[in-house]
């Protein structure tokens, strides 16, 4: 599972790929009180449940999930063979220091605090966030929310606290949007999940500032399996943002999350991701939202880094006039494969979905778009718009598009556009002749390509996104 043995890239190229992730490329010595050890058995599951002091129903849920995980084959019939390189027997499934998440940064252990300070999290919290959860390996080290939100009845805690303290809200929706058996990795997550957020926004409460979670992997050979459930009650509104980094280890790391969103009547959930994994992370994530009558679920998803990302955020539009949207940007540099897309399931009349996907492939990087739009025959007045654009930088890059639009009945409107363009030598020469270095020129071309989508990001994140792209393009110049 080592990056070195499974890759045919030369050392220099690998160095070039990773030079850009310097911000996240550091780690501290491990000081874990709780370590589930390597490999995955019933004992691993029990260990996690014991450490967390979980109720019996969750323990059973985990054991059932473990069975499903073992029974399900790897999806290599349609996905990349690289999945076979994940060695589930060497992964460590649970690591924590046994501390409860702190409400104040002052109480967070020194090196954890230093980690998140280097990543700029406390600073962002002060500047523009309503609440922050910072997860370090398996558990949150810090979790806090502005006091006035607590008074309004907003809940923002980790998944363990959510299922224990708020079972009456948590349990009816947990595992309902994404059933355990949805795919092999949702089953894996269901068996060993730890961390992630549970959020409940009461009726009519509209959060002006976003809530943020930051997921940090610090330990080698570690698998991070956070589990997030967000419920926006009728007429509520929330924006949730997540960021992710990991240091560059010699061996591969697994990140496999499950994120479920529930937007009740008239509610609005926006989920923004800016991930910048180091290039040995297998990032296999299942994300889906349920939108009831007049509700809206938007996924704004930016994938930079990782060795392999497989992620297809979806929206099930279950109530009339529900809206679903996926806006995604993926950048695949050499040695990386971004296999991303969207799933739009129309399950009520007059539902509307929109998918805009832009992928950039650089060097030997590979981008794949998989889209699924489903509109059954008995519905009427459904609309879907799908746009996917790919930008290629140099001749070795590869891009594939697999749109699957199933529309039955004739009372619907769908539109699909796809384009592939290249950063031509003429364009680069033109920009370089004006004084921009090759890296700056490519970066500007890439930023231009995604410009209209970046506007959808909160300002603070679009600045970060631009910075990441600049670094990525600078690093890709040989």
């Amino acid at each position: 599972m080592s990056y070195d043995t499974s890759s045919n890239l030369d050392a220099e190229t690998r160095e070039a790929i990773d030079i850009d992730r310097s911000k996240g490329d550091f780690s501290f010595p491990e000081r874990h009180k709780f370590d589930a050890g390597r490999g995955l058995t019933e004992r691993t599951v029990d260990y996690i449940s014991d450490v967390k002091g979980e109720p019996q129903w969750i323990r059973e849920f985990r054991h059932r999930a473990l069975k499903v995980f073992r029974e399900k084959p790897m999806p290599t019939n349609w996905a990349t063979q690289d999945l076979e390189n994940i060695d589930f027997d060497v992964i460590r499934y649970y690591l924590s220091d046994g501390e409860k998440p702190k409400r104040s940064w002052d109480e967070v252990p020194e090196e954890v605090l230093r980690t998140f300070e280097r990543l700029g999290i406390p600073e962002q919290e002060r500047a523009f966030l309503a609440g922050v959860e910072a997860q370090y390996d398996s558990e949150a080290a810090y979790s806090n929310m502005k006091e006035e939100l607590t008074k309004l009845g907003v809940i923002f805690v980790n998944s363990t606290e959510g299922l224990k303290e708020h079972e009456e809200i948590f349990r009816p929706w947990f595992g309902k949007v994404i059933p355990t058996g949805d795919n092999k990795f949702s089953a894996l997550n269901s068996a060993v999940f730890s961390g992630g957020s549970f959020i409940y926004i009461p009726k009519g409460v509209k959060l002006k500032q976003p809530l943020q979670a930051y997921f940090r992997i610090n330990s080698e050979n570690f698998g991070q399996f956070e589990r997030t459930l967000i419920i926006a009650d009728e007429g509520a509104e929330v924006m949730y943002m997540e960021g992710c980094t990991a240091p560059k280890f010699e061996t591969a790391t697994l990140h496999s999350a499950v994120v479920e969103l529930v937007a009740l009547k008239g509610a609005k959930i926006q989920y923004v991701t800016v991930q910048n994994w180091s290039s040995n992370v297998f990032n296999l994530v299942t994300k889906r939202g349920l939108a009831m009558e007049d509700a809206e679920v938007r996924w704004i998803d930016c994938n930079i880094g990782s060795r392999l990302t497989m992620k297809y955020p979806g929206v099930i539009m279950k109530g009339e006039r529900a809206r679903g949207e996926v806006i995604s940007i993926a950048l695949a540099n050499s040695g990386q494969h971004q296999d991303t897309g969207a799933k739009m399931i129309h399950a009520a009349n007059h539902t509307t979905s929109n998918v805009v996907s832009k992928s950039i492939s650089v060097g030997e990087g590979r981008s794949t778009y998989r889209g699924q739009v489903h509109i059954p025959k008995h519905l009427k007045g459904c609309k879907n718009n799908t746009e996917c654009d790919a930008l290629l930088i140099n001749t070795k890059s590869r891009t594939d598009t697999y749109p699957a639009i199933t529309v039955k009945g004739n009372q619907h409107a769908t539109q699909h556009e796809a384009s592939v363009s290249q950063v031509s030598e003429d364009m680069l020469f033109y920009m370089q002749q004006r004084g921009l270095s090759e890296g700056q020129a490519m970066s500007l071309a890439v930023n231009g390509f995604i410009n209209d989508l970046v506007r959808e990001f909160p300002m603070e994140y679009s600045v970060e996104l631009k910075r990441l792209i600049d670094l990525e393009m600078e690093g890709s110049v040989g």
């Binding site: 030598e425 364009m427 020469f429 370089q432 004006r434 004084g435 921009l436 090759e438 231009g448 995604i450």
Partner: protein, 252 residues
């Protein structure tokens, strides 16, 4: 102080030689024009000077005020003071004109120093007014959907903003109607200065009615075959390039 091209030979990657010994000196403060028929190597010369990677310099030298340009990358040459107004400017989708020019200016500043946005826009608007360009051009993507004339005006705008030491204008007059040509010439003339050298590449005398060159050169088959004053352009206009048939093997 001059842009000095000495016995320059350059080939395509497949080995076809395009420049076959070009020698030309453009001192600061002078405007030179190169005329010549299609395929004579005029555009190639402009690309080789600016460092286009599609050509291989096999011998000769290009220096700017004593600096060896051939040892520099494309962007280093630009920042050192070489500007090329393109015959066919590239489009850069999604990047606004204002941001593009700003990035070009930013690349000339030392690391850590930022452009003053207010002063930048003031300067940009003044130059645009000079070229009678609508303010809307700042927000439009670089050259995307521009007419031929708008693209050329945009090239001159960039030149005025970057204030190069030596400018090469490659067929800036092609595709321009007479009004646009006058505006472009106004911009170029405003840039004439004792510190700046210019090289105009053109097919036609027409441009030279508005931008008076100090010297005119005729290029044919990869060489400068005749040089003279402004009157040479008039002579070419009248008699065409027929004389080349007799003289092309005898460099001036």
């Amino acid at each position: 102080m001059s842009l000095l091209i000495n016995d320059l030979h350059a080939s395509l990657e497949d080995g076809t030689e395009i420049l076959k010994g070009v020698t030309l000196e453009i001192p600061a403060g002078e405007v030179h024009a190169i005329m010549g028929p299609n395929g004579s190597g005029k555009s190639t010369l402009s690309k080789v000077i600016s460092g286009h990677e599609g050509y291989v310099v096999t011998s000769g030298s290009v220096t700017m005020d004593g600096q060896d340009l051939l040892a520099m990358s494309i962007d280093e040459r630009s920042r050192a003071g070489i500007f090329l107004a393109f015959q066919y400017p590239a489009e850069v989708p999604g990047v606004s004109n204002a941001n593009f020019i700003r990035a070009a200016l930013q690349s000339r500043l030392p690391k850590g120093e930022e452009i003053d946005a207010v002063a930048y826009y003031k300067n940009l608007y003044a130059k645009m007014d000079h070229l009678e360009m609508d303010r809307k051009f700042t927000a439009r993507s670089v050259n995307e959907g521009f007419s031929g004339g708008e693209k050329k005006r945009n090239e001159i705008l960039q030149m005025m903003m970057l204030e190069p030491r030596y400018s090469i204008l490659d067929e800036t007059d092609s595709g321009l109607d007479i009004d646009a040509l006058k505006i472009v010439a106004k911009g170029v003339n405003a840039m004439r200065s004792p510190e700046r050298g210019m090289l105009l590449i053109t097919h036609y005398q027409r441009l030279l009615d508005y931008i008076a060159p100090d010297y005119v050169h005729v290029m044919a088959a990869g060489r400068i075959v005749r040089s003279g004053g402004p009157e040479l352009a008039l002579e070419l206009e009248k008699n065409g390039y027929d004389f080349l048939k007799e003289t092309e093997l005898v460099p001036a």
